[in-house]
Chain length 234, copies 2
Amino acid sequence: MELPVFYAKGLSPEAASYTMDEPTSKHCVQVLRRENGQQVLLANGIGQKFTAVITDDNRKRCTVQIQQQETVPAPTPQLHIAIAFTKNASRMEWFLEKATEIGIQSIIPLITHRTEKEKFKTERLENILVSAMLQSQQYYLPQLAAPTAFEQLVQQHQAVQRFIAHCLPDQKTPLQEVMLPGKDTLLLIGPEGDFTPEEVVAALAKGFQPVSLGNTRLRTETAGMVGAVLMKMS
Amino acid sequence: MELPVFYAKGLSPEAASYTMDEPTSKHCVQVLRRENGQQVLLANGIGQKFTAVITDDNRKRCTVQIQQQETVPAPTPQLHIAIAFTKNASRMEWFLEKATEIGIQSIIPLITHRTEKEKFKTERLENILVSAMLQSQQYYLPQLAAPTAFEQLVQQHQAVQRFIAHCLPDQKTPLQEVMLPGKDTLLLIGPEGDFTPEEVVAALAKGFQPVSLGNTRLRTETAGMVGAVLMKMS
């Protein structure tokens, strides 16, 4: 039977033992009924996978002894999505879960001319990323960047391939036709109401390639998810 | 400015006028504040797009005069997804919305050995399909089939290309590599816990090709959505 995997934030590859935080301890001991002597897996979200045995099945501070540690190779290429968050928080939370499951390495909330002002419940969003990472059996936690202004990102991001998905009637190529496999990639997804023409022009001037994500009009979070699939599967 | 599009179920191409149902009338007259003399678009979900003018802005029975009718070409190829619904209804509702936005033509709830018994709120699901069709500016409503037993579907479905996405360690090819563009296609997506080996064998015996949807473990609804993107973009 598959061993359960728990998140062990900050757990160092050299550690000999680890004590889970309270929610994780509760999940392990109370919900999954794990007891002393039983094995579990731990993921620190930066590539290490630990096999451990429970030495104190305390429901608030479950402690385990590390038996074995392996480093999972980092996913390549690095895939980044910068997306204008919608005012509907649950749709963006859904996007974070799906982008993580699909295997995107970083998500950058994009502040655009038409972006709704929005407070981020960062801890809640981090928990969504962690659950999705564990659920999809990955060992690298996607990075959730601080909200970044469009101009700043377009000026500074260093990805080898850079794309902007917009709905203006300009010439665009389907993402899957221009995406070169194996290269670090950034995709920009606009807000409801799209990027402004000025934003699109600014991105093209910086060498972004304009792409389309199919022939239907997609919601912001759907566009992000479609882009994630097309980047990952190229 | 873009005209709003409303769903006009059963509206015949020959009709000269149409009276919206109560929720649609309320949306048109009360929410969007449309008045007599203003134009709206109507979609009957089977390919006809109507331009009409409001002649009675009654908030319960809004009536319009049809000015013009055009038939939008049917999408080809026909893409079908048969998916084992999870017990979490909101995840399947989410899948229906996304599959519609992406442009899938039919969704078949699949009853498998490991499918949770589940009642469908058919009317609620139909409304999700309608909203997603209108929102994504399409004119064909995806068909939501009656729940179908795995054996029956595998025996009877006539799609030219037929794929089964499963997690058993057998030989599988990434869907995007075997999918031939332009052909009617059916993709089977299993339940939480996957298809049984017997179900996979039965499908292969009927000529289904085993496919993978990437190298991470996906939730049922995520797998369905990833499959939808890969079929649509091939």
